[in-house]
Every structure is written in structure tokens, then in C-alpha cells.
């Protein structure tokens, strides 16, 4: 395949960025999108130019490192996949592909396509945990049976990889889907219930402090989420938040 790539280049957080054209040849369908970028980078290095910087690590859709806005969509045109799992067979010979970083005020660009998603970490630091000692003196794991359905729902919420696509997809750059997934995971388990009120209040407050926008129930986040995190989590978080505020 022959492709024309339009890629966002930005020297650092302070510099202004711009789109640049990179024609590329010899791309095969069974390459992943990131392998296609590897090929481009190898070419750039051989020409003595600086390769395009992008985040990645596991390359199997689980670490949440990779990002990339591809033709206007986070993680590209395919559904339920991360950029590292997107394969070039989804594109056609001669295509022009526009590649940009995820855009959101709370996700500043570090360089080229690399963004700073540490706001997500800070949201979790204010309450995304169960306050239990790590000393190993806990009760037997089967002492508290948990309904399979709740355990499964909690698991599904917990499969969020923290990639930030939901934020990038949202016209308000809201982090509701992400935050609600975290809140839900704990709210659904007996272990997490005890601190539920404080947790949801703290996490929502931090989310606002980080500069994420408001949720206007557009649902773009769910569509673009590579892990299929459901909007139900947002509803659950809203309920938790409301009742937390009622309780004060």
C-alpha cells in the first residue's frame, strides 16, 4: 500500500505544532498501525531526521499507553480496538491518513503525538482505592460471597485501560466515562462500599480541578472506548454522587 500520512509534529510543550506530510510506501495489511509508524520512523532515521514520537508499550491493547487521533477518531476507525491493535488492512491503497495527538486541555502535548495523561492518575490518587492495609492479615477471600453479576459488572468497569480516548472523543473533553468506571468498580463490591461517599465526591472534585469539561450525555465516549466501557457507569456514578451529596 501507498499512503499519504499527515502527522502532527510539535517540538515540545511550549512550541507551536504543525501538520506535516509523509508519503509512505510498501505498507502491508497485516501490519499494525504502530508498525506502520515504525516503518516510517526507520525511514526518517535513515535520512537523519528525528522520528515521530508516540506512546506505546504492550502493543496488545491492554496497557493503555497508545493514543493517537486517526482521521479524527481516537484509536482510528475500527471499533473496540486500541491503536496498537488497529491493522492496516482497515485502510486502502492511496489513502490519506491524518494522525494527531488526543486533544484536551487536561492532556497537554509533551512532544509530537505524546501527551500528558497524569490528570487521570491524580483523579485516582484522591480515592480510587479501598483503604485496606497491605499487611496480609485480611479475612479469607471467600468469607464474603459476591453475587456473580456484581463481580462481573465490577470487572467490566475495571477493564478500563486509562487511555483517554473517551476524553478525546468528547466535545467537552469530559472525563466522566473514565472516572465513572473507576467509581463503579469499587461501588459494586462490598469491599469498596464503606468509603463510597467520600470516594465519589473526591474523585469528581479532582476531575473538575484538572480542567476536564462537563458531561452533556452525548455518548461519543462510549462509541470510541476501546474497551466498551458502558454509559451505565456514568449513570451509576451520578446516582452515587447525588446520594453522597444528600448524605453530605
Amino acid at each position: 500500500m501507498k499512503l499519504n500520512l499527515k502527522i502532527w509534529r510539535q517540538k515540545d510543550a511550549k512550541s507551536k505544532g504543525e501538520m506535516k506530510d509523509y508519503p509512505i510506501n510498501g505498507i502491508e495489511g497485516d501490519m499494525s498501525f504502530l508498525e506502520m509508524l515504525d516503518v516510517l520512523n526507520e525511514e526518517l532515521i535513515n535520512k537523519g531526521e528525528e522520528p515521530v514520537q508516540f506512546d506505546h508499550d504492550c502493543r496488545e491493547g491492554i496497557c493503555g499507553s497508545c493514543s493517537l487521533q486517526i482521521n479524527g477518531e481516537p484509536h482510528g476507525p475500527d471499533r473496540l480496538v486500541t491503536t496498537c491493535q488497529l491493522h492496516m488492512r482497515k485502510f486502502n491503497d492511496g489513502d490519506t491518513i491524518v494522525i494527531e495527538p488526543f486533544r484536551a486541555t487536561a492532556f497537554p502535548v509533551i512532544k509530537d503525538l505524546v501527551i500528558d495523561r497524569s490528570a487521570f492518575d491524580r483523579i485516582q490518587q484522591v480515592g480510587g482505592y479501598v483503604s485496606v492495609n497491605t499487611s496480609g492479615n485480611t479475612v479469607d477471600a471467600n468469607a464474603t460471597p459476591i453475587e456473580k453479576e456484581n463481580a462481573d459488572d465490577s470487572f467490566y468497569a475495571a477493564t478500563c485501560i486509562g487511555c483517554g480516548a473517551c476524553v478525546a472523543a468528547c466535545k467537552n473533553a469530559s472525563a466522566m466515562l473514565f472516572t465513572s468506571a473507576k467509581v463503579s468498580q469499587f461501588a459494586l463490591l462490598p469491599q469498596g462500599k464503606v468509603e463510597a461517599t467520600e470516594r465519589v465526591q473526591n474523585m469528581v472534585r479532582q476531575m473538575d480541578l484538572e480542567g476536564f469539561g462537563n458531561c452533556t450525555n452525548t455518548g461519543a465516549c462510549e462509541v470510541e472506548c476501546p474497551k466498551g466501557i458502558s454509559l451505565e457507569n456514568i449513570a451509576r456514578m451520578n446516582r452515587e454522587y447525588l446520594s453522597a451529596n444528600v448524605k453530605g
Binding site: D30, Q53, G64, I110, D121, Q185, Q191
Partner: protein, 667 residues
């Protein structure tokens, strides 16, 4: 030799750990506040250690190269975590877990460490559940289990095919709690470049801020390395792209012995290589072998026709298929340990029965599982004479519930529907059993430098059974290191803060700067990947699934020559004081180019076959591994002496007081 004191406590095996905990020195909680610990790596091992150390009251600094601890490579673990809970009532016990692990590791691990691991395993599950880790549950609300290769009980806890993710998020949550309390200071996007020794003790590290390129000094009373495995020395492996040996190798150069580097696990169920551009290999969890049957065609013509696309696997009749694992190992069948399954696949493919274009793939087939489950479901739903279509539909649902995300992943990569046509798999480099040598306290041969998780060597011997790495990482981090390190730190309650303005820090920082400069000023002929790929080829062809003296000897020379070429001709573009992924890679590959040579040297000296190390010269007439306990029942710990070829061998003789050494048979 004097240095290799394993410090295994005396007394009966089952009492050693309790006795040791009772005897080692403790640090008063008020004094812990005055003690700093650096934890490099925030995977399961480092994350759990950091959280627990902070919980105990130490001041902890964590380092990882990713932008968040939550992205450490542990996140990718799919299958599950073992624990001797005996919830299933199938006769499991700490002793059995211990026994399976030692046997599975081909008797090259340390008895006392493994027993402790088995003992703590049950605790891990309790701890994780308390933290809100959503393990799979049965309808009754209790935890569900499955089984893994190499064992006959069901002791593996799991969260679909994403167990590592859920366990790591548990650690990360525990870390977050401590970050919020100010007890952990996280340094993300930071890479450890060197270990700093003061008066022979590990007292800090030199790190590079990967965003600004700044070189930083960090001091502490002790340094814990939890930096994972070095499988990426093969270029293609199931490891994350950034996985590296840098921290361990830098510590090795500063005096930490490197143990059993050649013990590398080749995992039998990975997605086969598709072409030259491939950047990594994807694992299909071994839990698939619980239900999937492995086969190749019985006749070469059929294999040939399949390779050419003239025949579909589903067209081949049952009697024309060779379920070679079931044939060769009737007792364990498809559930033989990884080293056995990998070699058997290679044997069939080498003999010409491979089923993909390159002839390097075998089938993993779910058709009979789908039928079996479908019939079961139909009956339990009161359908006495369900038709085939219904049975298939019901069966697929069961398989989807169990392995759905793995099937989806396979389909994304290969573009074939594994519910309809068997998956293709082939062995790939996966896990490294070798690593820094540690004693029973998990301390390396450098005082104050500890090593936990995949980065150390102690628990898995020559082969690792499935679902035991997660167990080891968490046992080390939550329950072992936090105790044992106290013994060492109890001598430091009056030391006070360690200064970073010492000649030792000056010297180490200078060395790091020089190295970076040297990398940036290479005359510039080839990219870093160019060298990494060449190294990977040498490793796979000459130090891979089967090894022989001739190949290993030439590998040593090849790697040394490649290393020389690398330093003369590598091209790293961009600048050092900025985010520069090429520079990061260059530093990592430079260390792989040294480790690779030591790897080959280790494999060459070990004149036996055991676990992941298969020397062609040492095999039985049936092609099974031939171990030599008389001469090689030891840990090979290498001391750095300049070039890898000059490394000096030290031996820790392994004593088996509780298990009789037997030929490993799964027949």
C-alpha cells in the same frame, strides 16, 4: 565463592519462614520515618512492595519508564495466578504447589524460596480481594478456579483473560492510597541509568527524566529493583516494547551477580510471526490449553496443501489429525508444561508438518470443546435432543464467556474467526527465569540492593509453570521483601539522610552522561532497531529453543562483533535533553548486547538440558531433555569482570532435602 551465601534459615522446611520472621531485626515504626527506600519498577513486584513499604512507614520513591505505574508490563498477564487455597477440594496444599513448582522448574530453583512462595500464595488472594480485585466468581458468589499447564489440580484464580491487569490495578490502587498520604513519591517517565554504591552499599540511583532529558540523583538507604524480565534480548518476544535489562545490568556491572541468564521460557501458544516488519509477538493465554486441542496433519501432503491454501483444517477428518501432545503425553495431554509443549511443536514443524505459510505454526482447536460444552448446556437447559446448530451456538457462548477477549484479540491480529477455524500458534520467547542472584532475603550480592519479581532468579528454576510469576511478584512485594529488608535497614536508623553530593554520585552521574554522549555521537550508519533485530536473530537461531555447543560458541563471537559495530555505527537522531525514544532504546539495546553474550556463555557452559534450556547434545532417544544433576545441580551466578566473556562463574549448589529429584515425566 564466599559471597554466595543463600542465608536459607535452618530447621524444617515448613517452619523456615516463620522462624526467620521471628528472628530478624525489626525497625521501630518511629524510625521508619527516617528511612528512605527507592523502588525501581512499579509492576506487580515493585508496586506491591512500594505500597507495603509505605504502609509500614518508610519513605518510598518509585520509578518507572511509563507515564503511569498502571501501565507496567504486568498489566498484560492474561491467564491467572496460582494459590494453594484448596477451595475446589481437589487435594491441593502448600506442599503440592511447592512440589509442582520445583518439579516444573526441573529442580533448578531454591527449595526454601519456593516453599515460602507456596505458603504465602493463599494470603495473596485474600489481600487482593480485600483491595477490590474483581476475580471471576461462580454463581454461588465464591471464587472460581481453573487449571494450568504442568499441574493436576485447579488452583488458578483469574479475571477473564485479564488477570494481570486486575492485579496490577489493585497494586496501583494501593500505591495511590500511599501517594495520597504522601508516603510514596512517584517518578514516572523516569529511567534508572545506574546504581550508586557508597562504601560498598547501594545508596541511590542515577535516573534520567525521559521528558526533559535531565540526569537526576536520588539517594536512599536501600534500593529495590523490580524491573521485570529481559526477554526482549530476542527482539521478538511477548514482552512490552520497553521491557529491558538496563537496571539489572547496571547493578550487575556494579557487583550484583547475574544468575542463570540462559534459562528463558519459550511459551507454546503465541500468535505466529507474520512478516519482517513485526515488532512483537502476542501471547494467547495458556489457559486456552484447558479446552483447546493441539494438532497438525498426520500426512505431510495434507500439511503441504494447507500451507498452499488448497485445504482447510476443518476439512481434515479426525483420523487424519495428529494430536501429538495427547499421543506423546497421555497423562497430561495438552496440559504438559510449557517447555515440553514448545519443543513438541518445534519438533513437528521441523519435521515438515507446520500449517501456516512459513511452516511454523500448529493448530489450537476448539471444535470439540464447543461441542462438549454445547451438549452440556443443552442438557442443563432441558433440551434433550438439541440439533447441531443449537449445540454449536450454546457451546460457543460458553467458550466466549471463558476466553472471549483472547478470541477477539486473535481475530484482530490474524483476521480469522477462531470460533470457526482453529487458531494457529507457535512458540515464542516469553519469560526469563534467570536474573539477578538474590539470597533468601531477596538481597543481591551488593549490600542494600534488593531484587524482586521477574528480575531475580530464585523461584522458577529452569522453567516456569503458568500462573506462578504473578504469584511470585506479589508474594515478594506484599509479604516477603517488606519483612526481610527491615533486617538490613535496622542498621540504618541513625544514618540520617544519604547525601547526593558525594564523589560516588559525581562519578556515577559522570559515567551516565558520558555514555549518553557516546550514543548520541555515533557516526550514524544504522538505526537502533537495525542492531536490535540482528541481535534477536542471533539469539533465536543460536540460543533459542534448541542449542548446541557449536552455535553457542559462534553466537558469543557474533554478539561481541555486533556490539563493537553498534558502538561505532549506531545512529541516534534528535537531542539528549528532550523526549527521545531512540535514545532510550539505544541505551537498552546497548545493555542487551552485553547480556546476550553472557546468555550464550551461560548456555554453553551448562552441558545438560533442563527446562527452557535444551542442548541438542543432551537428549534421550525419544527426544526428551536429559538433565545432569550430578554435575549441574547448581545456580550459575556470574560476576562481572569487564567484557561478558571474562565473567567469572560462581556456583550455588542446590540442596533438595524435601523433594527427591526425579526425571520429569508427563507421560
Amino acid at each position: 565463592m564466599g559471597k554466595l551465601d543463600s542465608k536459607v534459615p535452618s530447621g524444617p522446611l515448613a517452619d523456615k519462614w516463620t522462624k526467620h520472621k521471628n528472628e530478624i531485626n525489626l525497625v521501630n515504626p518511629a524510625n521508619k520515618r527516617n528511612i528512605d527506600v527507592i523502588v525501581v519498577g512499579t509492576g506487580l513486584a515493585g508496586g506491591s512492595a512500594a505500597a507495603t513499604l509505605a504502609e509500614l512507614g518508610y519513605n518510598v520513591k518509585t520509578f518507572c519508564y511509563q507515564d503511569s505505574p498502571r501501565r507496567a508490563h504486568s498489566i498484560a498477564a492474561q491467564g491467572g495466578i496460582n494459590a494453594a487455597k484448596n477451595y475446589q477440594g481437589d487435594g491441593d496444599s502448600a506442599y503440592r504447589l511447592f512440589y509442582d513448582t520445583v518439579k516444573g522448574g526441573d529442580y533448578r530453583s531454591r527449595e526454601a524460596n519456593v516453599y515460602r512462595l507456596a505458603e504465602e500464595s493463599a494470603n495473596i488472594i485474600d489481600q487482593c480481594v480485600a483491595q477490590g480485585v474483581p476475580f471471576a466468581r461462580e454463581y454461588g458468589g465464591l471464587l472460581d478456579n481453573r487449571s494450568f499447564g504442568g499441574v493436576l489440580v485447579s488452583r488458578t484464580f483469574y479475571a477473564k483473560g485479564q488477570t494481570g491487569q486486575q492485579l496490577l490495578l489493585g497494586c496501583y490502587a494501593a500505591m495511590n492510597r500511599q501517594i495520597n498520604r504522601g508516603k510514596i513519591k512517584p517518578y514516572n517517565r523516569h529511567e534508572m541509568m545506574d546504581l550508586v554504591l557508597v562504601d560498598g552499599k547501594a545508596r541511590g540511583i542515577i535516573a534520567r527524566d525521559l521528558v526533559s532529558g535531565e540526569i537526576e540523583r536520588h539517594s536512599a538507604h536501600a534500593v529495590v529493583l523490580a524491573t521485570g524480565g529481559y526477554g526482549n534480548v530476542f527482539f521478538l518476544s511477548t514482552n512490552a516494547m520497553g521491557s529491558n535489562v538496563m537496571a539489572a545490568w547496571r547493578a550487575h556491572r556494579r557487583g550484583a551477580y547475574f544468575a542463570n541468564p540462559c534459562f528463558t521460557q519459550i511459551h507454546p501458544t503465541c500468535i505466529p510471526v507474520s512478516g519482517d516488519h513485526q515488532s512483537k509477538l502476542t501471547l494467547m493465554s495458556e489457559s486456552l490449553r484447558n479446552d483447546g486441542r493441539i494438532w497438525v496433519p498426520k500426512r505431510k501432503e495434507d500439511a503441504e496443501n494447507i500451507r498452499q491454501g488448497k485445504l482447510k483444517p476443518t476439512q481434515l477428518k479426525e483420523e487424519d489429525r495428529d494430536y501429538y501432545l495427547e499421543r506423546r503425553y497421555p497423562a497430561f495431554g495438552n496440559l504438559v508444561p510449557r517447555d515440553v509443549a514448545s519443543r513438541a511443536a518445534k519438533e513437528r514443524c521441523d519435521a515438515g508438518f507446520g500449517v501456516n505459510k512459513t511452516g511454523e505454526a500448529v493448530y489450537l482447536d476448539f471444535a470439540s470443546a464447543i461441542e462438549r460444552y454445547g451438549k452440556e448446556e443443552a442438557l442443563t437447559h432441558g433440551m434433550k435432543d438439541a440439533d447441531n446448530k443449537t449445540i454449536t451456538k450454546l457451546g460457543r457462548q460458553v467458550v466466549e464467556n471463558k476466553y472471549g477477549n483472547l478470541f477477539q484479540m486473535y481475530e484482530k491480529i490474524v483476521d480469522e474467526n477462531p470460533y470457526e477455524t482453529p487458531m494457529m500458534i507457535y512458540p515464542a520467547v516469553h519469560y526469563t527465569m534467570g536474573g539477578l542472584w538474590v539470597d533468601y532475603n531477596l538481597q543481591t550480592t551488593v549490600d542494600g540492593c534488593y531484587c524482586i519479581g521477574e528480575a531475580n532468579f530464585s523461584d522458577h528454576g529452569a522453567n516456569r509453570l503458568g500462573a506462578s510469576a504473578l504469584m511470585q511478584g506479589l508474594a515478594d512485594g506484599y509479604f516477603v521483601l517488606p519483612y526481610t529488608i527491615g533486617d538490613y535497614l535496622s542498621n540504618d536508623i541513625r544514618t540520617g539522610e544519604i547525601s547526593i553530593d558525594s564523589p560516588e554520585f559525581d562519578q556515577a552521574e559522570e559515567a551516565v552522561r558520558e555514555r549518553i554522549e557516546k550514543l548520541m555521537s555515533g557516526s550514524g550508519k544504522h538505526s537502533v532497531d537495525h542492531y536490535h533485530k540482528l541481535l534477536g536473530k542471533i539469539m533465536w537461531n543460536k540460543c533459542g529453543m534448541a542449542r548446541n555447543a557449536e552455535d553457542l560458541t559462534s553466537a558469543i563471537d557474533d554478539i561481541a562483533a555486533l556490539r563493537e559495530d553498534f558502538w561505532a555505527n549506531v545512529k541516534v537522531t534528535g537531542v539528549a535533553d528532550s523526549l527521545n525514544a531512540e535514545l532510550e532504546k539505544a541505551g537498552r539495546v546497548a545493555d542487551f548486547l552485553e547480556l546476550g553474550e553472557l546468555f550464550a556463555k551461560d548456555a554453553l557452559h551448562r552441558d545438560e538440558s533442563c527446562g527452557g534450556h535444551f542442548r541438542e547434545e543432551y537428549q534421550t532417544p525419544e527426544g526428551e531433555a536429559l538433565r545432569d544433576d550430578e554435575n549441574f545441580k547448581y545456580v550459575a551466578a556470574w560476576e562481572f569482570k569487564g567484557e561478558p566473556k571474562n565473567a567469572v562463574l560462581h556456583k550455588e549448589n542446590l540442596k533438595y532435602e524435601n523433594i527427591e529429584l526425579k526425571t520429569r515425566s508427563y507421560k
